[in-house]
């Protein structure tokens, strides 16, 4: 049944992700995430926990699909469960006080069994169906940046694309992908 295909693929990816992360961590030149002084100046909504993609995806080079693994198998990218966070943060406590403070929040959430309520940044109206897996399949694992911007260098996630229909269409036309309405609207 579907569930097995789905979850197996997902798990496999998680493992791969870890391996890859480990491997890259040694070789590739490290990107240094900047120290954010004034968080108020950052674009995008303020999240309950100041989760920094630039540290995780940029500096530590954790591949997107490590946390958002369902994006390759499902229409929904999925939000990583708190367990995924704790997978590392049981051990990783953070280097600077500010980091420690944020990680403490994560641990508290875990111990209180109260997951953080992230504020949604990217959303499409209900009548638009955006299959993530098709796009990842076509654009590759790093295709995310096309719509979400260079998350790996962004301290706080903000909406960089309009996500309006014209914007979708432009890309589809450039890449000679169908413009058929019922591909997204049904």
């Amino acid at each position: 049944m579907t569930m097995h295909a789905g979850s197996r693929a997902a798990l496999a990816l998680v493992l791969l992700g870890c391996a890859a992360a480990a491997a890259r961590a040694q070789t590739a030149p490290r990107y240094q995430a900047p120290v954010v002084k004034d968080t108020a100046r950052l674009a995008g909504p303020r999240q309950p926990i100041f989760f920094r993609h630039d540290i995780h995806a940029g500096q530590d080079q954790i591949p997107c699909m490590y946390c958002h693994y369902t994006a390759t198998v499902s229409t929904e990218p999925g939000v990583p469960s708190l367990q995924t966070c704790m997978g590392c943060h049981l051990l990783v406590g953070g280097s600077t006080p500010s980091h420690q403070a944020e990680i403490a929040k994560v641990r508290k959430a875990w111990s209180d069994r109260q997951p953080p309520q992230w504020i949604r940044v990217h959303a499409l109206p209900g009548f638009v169906h955006f299959p993530h897996m098709r796009h990842i399949k076509a654009l590759g694992d790093n295709g995310c940046v096309l719509c979400h911007g260079d998350i790996a260098k962004t301290p706080q996630v903000a909406q960089v694309s309009t996500l309006r229909m014209g914007w979708c269409i432009r890309c589809h036309v450039e890449r000679k992908i169908t413009r058929d309405c019922t591909v997204c609207h049904y």
Partner: protein, 450 residues
């Protein structure tokens, strides 16, 4: 041309001056009766607006629609008002090209009627669509999505036809008004003087102005003539292009145009008779004008009758087809009363117009014209709602249909809207063309040089 004008009925000598003054008098301060009428019109309009607000809030379900009656009273009213709109341009443009002098006394009323009727008709497509707040999606404007409307859809043709018709007939009305506004300007006083001074656009009746003016008017007439024929043809194609039995007919275009003129002329008569009475225009708008209108009515009525006959004949002649079922349903189905109202009022009634006595009897004409209007409304109602209800392809979903307060309320509102504008017009602008009436009067000549 002079000899075609009406001989004065009473002792009054109809001079240029008389014409100017009698028509200027119509712009005098309105009486209680006028305000009463205006009040009624605005009242109806208010009712309509209230119903419309409910409709917008809760959805079209408040109206009487059912499955499969997806178009009903609103589209009926749309076609009805567009039809009304037709005689105006016909009288002012086509008869102008035919140089028929009698039009001069009546065309202004007809033209004003046209403009306001189109204004009314234009509202209904917007009211009847399911998501009225997206009506502008029918307009080809450049948008972020890169989407355009479907020009193959008769509804888009409609949009263009009605839009054009409204613009052109409005231009036509305004253009015809300019010299007359100038005329009343020169007699008016007070705020009216200012109003006319501006709206007459500095008209002085110099030879230069007349030279360009009459040319322009001629070409407008030349353009309006095919337009008036096209508009109702396009409206008829809303139905003829669909494959609903009893809609899908090649005769629809001429049939609808004739019907439109028919109803329009009838409406002109129903409007002109009271105006003539109230404004004491007996000398200007004479019985002969009405007789001519009646003749026009008779002619178009005969065409419409012929169209009905053809429809029924073909339906019968075609054998056991859905068409056949549809017309049987029209005549003997549960909605027979609608079908027969239309037949009696439009098909049989006009025959009495063959008699000069009737044609020259204003009371009779008035009654007949009212009946014709009713009949024409029912023609559209039968055609749209009834033929949808009597679905012949899928007998399983054949359904009844009951209009509701929302339908009637909004329809009443449309009448209020129309008469409000019309009443405001006749009190503020010359309801009869001054300069053109003068054109057909014998000019003042001394004759000693002759």
């Amino acid at each position: 041309m002079a000899q075609t004008t009406a001989p004065p009925t009473s002792g009054v000598r109809v001079t240029y001056d008389y014409v100017t003054r009698v028509i200027h008098r119509t712009l005098g301060d309105p009486g209680k009766g006028y305000f009463a009428l205006l009040g009624v019109a605005v009242g109806l309009l208010t009712i309509g607006i209230i119903c419309l607000l409910f409709l917008l809030r809760y959805g079209l379900g408040l109206a009487g629609y059912s499955h499969p009656v997806y178009w009903a009273v609103f589209i009926t009213c749309f076609v009805f008002w567009v039809g009304i709109a037709h005689s105006g341009t016909l009288i002012s443009a086509i008869l102008f090209l035919f140089r028929s002098a009698w039009r001069t006394a009546v065309y202004r009323v007809a033209e004003a009627m046209t403009v306001f009727a189109v204004m009314t008709a234009g509202l209904f497509p917007l009211i009847h669509i399911g998501r009225q707040w997206y009506f502008y999606w029918l307009v080809p404007y450049p948008n972020e999505r890169g989407l355009w409307p479907n020009f193959k859809s008769p509804l888009i043709w409609d949009e263009f036809a009605i839009g054009t018709y409204f613009t052109v007939s409005t231009c036509f009305l305004i253009m015809g008004l300019i010299p007359d506004i100038a005329a009343v300007r020169d007699l008016a006083t007070g705020w009216r003087k200012k109003l006319y001074a501006i709206t007459s656009l500095g008209w002085r009746g110099t030879n230069e102005q007349w030279r360009h003016y009459s040319r322009g008017y001629l070409y407008l007439a030349a353009l309006a003539t095919p337009l008036v024929l096209s508009v109702h043809s396009v409206v008829s194609w809303d139905f003829a292009m669909a494959q609903v039995p009893a809609w899908h007919e090649t005769i629809f275009a001429p049939y609808f145009v004739a019907g439109a003129i028919y109803s329009g002329v009838a409406m002109v008569i129903s409007l002109l008779i009271p105006i003539r009475r109230l404004f004491h225009l007996e000398e200007v708008v004479t019985i002969r004008h009405f007789e001519n209108l009646a003749k026009l009515c008779l002619l178009t009525g005969m065409i419409v009758g012929f169209a009905y006959t053809t429809e029924y004949f073909i339906a019968w002649y075609g054998g056991p087809t859905p068409e056949h079922k549809a017309f049987y349903y029209r005549a003997f189905g549960p909605f027979w009363w609608a079908g027969w109202t239309m037949n009696v009022c439009n098909w049989f009634l006009p025959w009495i117009l063959w008699f000069k006595k009737v044609r020259t009897n204003l009371t009779a004409l008035f009654v007949i014209s009212i009946f014709v209007n009713i009949g024409m409304w029912f023609e559209r109602f039968t055609l749209i709602a009834i033929h949808l209800a009597g679905e012949p392809f899928e007998p399983f979903v054949k359904a009844g249909y009951n209009p509701t307060w929302a339908d009637w309320g909004i329809m009443a509102g449309s009448f209020g809207w129309f008469f409000m504008w019309f009443l405001l017009f006749v009190k503020n602008f010359p309801a009869v063309s001054i300069s053109e009436v003068k054109e057909v009067l014998p000019p003042p000549v001394r004759g000693r040089h002759a």
